[in-house]
């Protein structure tokens, strides 16, 4: 496999890397705030790339291909173009990958995506012609064999894109997840970015279990800004559990009436908790980096990275 993107090149050097996340707003043509957030992330040296979500939770948003291109051009930050199979058949996916290659995008995160009934257009036809493993197969074939899944040859410059997949350390039993990752590695997955993990023990167990697959893994973290956000993950995000101690600590912050003081305490806690968290995962061989999903919460990202890397 070859490293085409800065993210994969960074991983190849053995450096512990960071990626961020950008989320175009639902049903919205405006990306100014996304560009601003990308510029903030670009300002943090250790962050090599950021993901642009594709209709997250099956809520309609601007095409992640268009948003990835616009934001990459405007911010200078390399992007990970997220692409889900829920809404496009293999022909549409192939044409989007060709478009991504032509636009200079270097990373694709291959996703199946939440079911279309979960979002804001529940009556649409769910596609799922391919699943995420098939999409990895498709990208891999386009890059290394120069064909799509039907064997049609790609004309023009070579597709130079690295393809990653999403991991879910919270899956129980974990063996299901590990076998799935092995399957995806066999068809060409080059990196793994995981769902949010709050429980350090789960992250460490996952990294140990995954080591034999030899696919560099970035563990997903999300420092919450409030008790509401933390408990939202616990209650509503598929498969994510937040440790009770963590939730109790955030419940305690709710009692602080002064807003500025509350924020200060939350920031302090997040920095302390996640610096330790990332330091621990960094010790694991399978762990190539950390995927920081704190969209719109810049105050803690830099201190967390600085705390880990100092």
């Amino acid at each position: 496999m070859e490293a085409f993107s800065n993210l994969m090149k960074g991983i190849a050097t053995g450096k512990f890397v960071y990626s961020g996340e950008l989320e175009p707003h639902n049903v919205c043509t405006e990306v100014t705030s996304v560009i601003e957030w990308a510029k903030t992330l670009k300002g943090i040296e250790e962050i090599l790339a950021a993901n642009v979500t594709d209709n997250p939770q099956s809520f309609t948003a601007m095409s992640s291909l268009a948003a990835s291109h616009i934001v990459q051009e405007a911010s200078g930050l390399e992007l990970v173009y997220q692409l889900r199979t829920a809404d496009r058949n293999r022909m549409a996916l192939a044409s989007d990958i060709l478009g991504a290659a032509a636009l200079g995008l270097k990373n694709i995160l291959a996703l199946t995506g939440d079911h279309t009934t979960m979002g804001n257009t529940p009556h649409c036809m769910p596609v799922f012609d391919l699943d995420s493993a098939h999409l990895v197969d498709l990208v891999h074939k386009m890059v290394y064999e120069g064909t799509d899944l039907a064997g049609n040859e790609v004309a023009g410059p070579r597709v130079e894109i690295n393809v990653g997949v999403a991991g879910n350390p919270n899956q129980e039993p974990m063996e299901i997840e590990i076998l799935k990752m092995e399957r995806k590695a066999e068809v060409g997955a080059e990196f793994i970015q995981t769902q949010v993990v709050f429980d350090l023990d789960i992250a460490l167990e996952y990294l140990d279990a995954l080591e034999y697959i030899k696919v560099p893994t970035l563990i997903g973290i999300f420092p919450p800004r409030s008790f509401g956000q933390a408990s939202f993950f616990d209650k509503y995000v598929s498969g994510v559990t937040v440790p009770k101690d963590f939730l109790d600590t955030f419940a305690g912050f709710k009692e602080i009436e002064d807003k500025a003081k509350r924020k200060e305490k939350i920031d302090e806690f997040n920095i302390d908790y996640f610096v330790n968290f990332v330091k621990e995962i960094k010790k694991k061989k399978a762990c190539a980096g950390c995927h920081v999903m704190a969209v719109g919460y810049p105050d803690v990202i830099e201190p967390i990275i600085a705390g880990v890397e100092k």
């Binding site: 199946t112 699943d131 493993a133 098939h134 299901i176 076998l179 598929s238 498969g239």
Partner: protein, 225 residues
Amino acid sequence: MIVVREKPLEKILETLSPYKNILVVGCDGCTQPPRSLKEAETLAKLIEMSGKVKNEEINCKPTTLIKQCCNTSVANLRTQLEGYDAILTLSCGIGVQTLTSMYPELQTFPAQDTVFNGYEETRDGNIFEMCLACGDCLLDETGGICPITRCAKSLLNGPCGGCVEGKCEVEAKIGEDQTVKNDCAWYLIYHRLKDLDKLDLFKKYRPPRDNGNLHPQIIGTLERY
């Protein structure tokens, strides 16, 4: 069996409104819940009573056929058609079309929505969708559990991230207002294959399906056996 759901009576009455003499035909075939002579009699009475409420004379005759998905069986209806100006069938969508093609002189209407191929957990119990008739059965590889039908995304390489505690992120509706958490098919497949010591089949990459051979399909006479 082919599972059907009764259309609302108001909808059936609206469809039949121009017709006064209606042959109501059950099907003794695989339709479930049963939609045979007894059910045809009940529906015929309901339609006649609804007519009376509106001071309209509607004449319904209930009857049934062994199976409506076969011209040989459907031919038996010919002697009963005289005097009727419409057919209402309790069969699945196949029966509606067989009657339409056999008796083009009358219009045949569906009394049912055809919903899926399923199985009944217990007699008169819940009925579950089990087979999408995809034409490429992989139950030999998946421990006898069909991911094409029982995974909401029909994944070949599942489960997805929406599997939580063995349940699917998509809830199934029962009736108007009840929902239940469905089992994740791939979670079941994992456990079944683990029990069989065949996890290599779970881990196996299954390439994309050939979706190029879709409806309408034909099985020729020579292919039948």
